[in-house]
Symmetry: C2
Subunit: 199 residues, 2 copies
């Protein structure tokens, strides 16, 4: 098996397999996802996938890592360092439909629900979550240092915002609550303006 690459170093084949995994998840959901289904989207044999990923779990953990890198790329597009604007843009990115279609969010919730039983997938979810909370915490702490925010506990504030983000994702996928992302964006705005910006 070839060593799977990280970040920008993914080969063209690996990028194509990531795209195929995305499409197969949207089409089949997580419970019915097979290497065969991914291979069909990829247009090659399952052996061509196994060259890079030993097992389906390895592939799924790599896929979550790929999503994290995509998120990091989109965060790098946020060029402003002004804390309030930067936090707003991060929340926009966390709470938009760009994160994927309903089918994809449904598959991701299934994968999350299986995380307790699957160490590789759980650890990658934890890494993605840790990175996102770190970004939020940093901008909240910066903003508190510069007097824009007045967060007593930036780490808790980051956790609070992630509760709202994860609540939205769960509600959107499981209840078919079409407004969940918008309600969450509004709730996050209220939290920032009333809790973090209170004097």
């Amino acid at each position: 098996m070839a060593e799977p690459s990280d970040g920008d170093e993914r080969s063209e084949a690996e990028l194509k397999i990531m795209g195929a995994t995305y499409r197969a998840l949207c089409e089949h959901g997580y419970a019915n996802l097979t290497m065969q289904a991914i291979a069909e989207e990829y247009g090659k044999s399952t052996a061509a996938i196994h060259y890079y990923y030993d097992t389906k779990d390895d592939l799924l953990a790599a896929f979550l890592n790929f999503l994290l890198d995509k998120f990091i790329d989109r965060v790098h597009e946020v060029e402003t360092t002004a804390p309030k604007e930067r936090l707003d843009l991060l929340l926009d990115r966390l709470l938009t439909h760009r994160e994927g279609s309903r089918d994809f969010m449904t598959a991701m919730l299934e994968m999350r629900a299986q995380a307790p039983y699957n160490e590789a997938v759980r650890e990658q979810f934890q890494r993605n979550d840790e990175y996102t909370r770190y970004l939020l915490k940093t901008v909240i702490a910066d903003g508190t240092d510069s007097g824009v925010f007045s967060a007593e506990d930036p780490e808790h504030a980051a956790d609070a915002l992630m509760l709202i983000v994860d609540g939205a994702r769960t509600r959107y996928a499981s209840l078919g609550d079409e407004n969940a992302l918008e309600e969450a964006r509004r709730t996050a705005r209220e939290y920032v303006e009333s809790v973090l910006m209170a004097e």
Copy 2:
């Protein structure tokens, strides 16, 4: 098949089957839940369960209805009508470990993740959610009428609190985030005090 009873009218057998379903979910998770596993917890044959519930989906929808009734019973114990105290107690009940062990929360998240594929289960989840948001909205609207709260939009405020609750349940089960319920209780308190009680 006997007509399954609602609320207080559940027979002793039905109550025992609900208890057996709870234990089987904790032990096997949702993906591996079988009528046989529930029957073993019940101590009778699967036929004795099918007398009340045609299919596993019927049984699971009845189980979610049973959880709603249990929640309603616990809400009825909240005797105060003072809006702030009543909202605090509702949030306590929504965000405590009394809702169940980690194993149970894990099984419930699995069930939620399957809701998009399962109409009976999804509809019962939606009913439970609707009832809970109705309770929250009512107490927030009452409190706004009496001047304790100043919610511009009680319906949105109820949605905001449910985002926090659902985020906590998802994070607790899927990331193993032991502090999720406490962080959520703290976040809900901040939201109530800074957003709903702002003048």
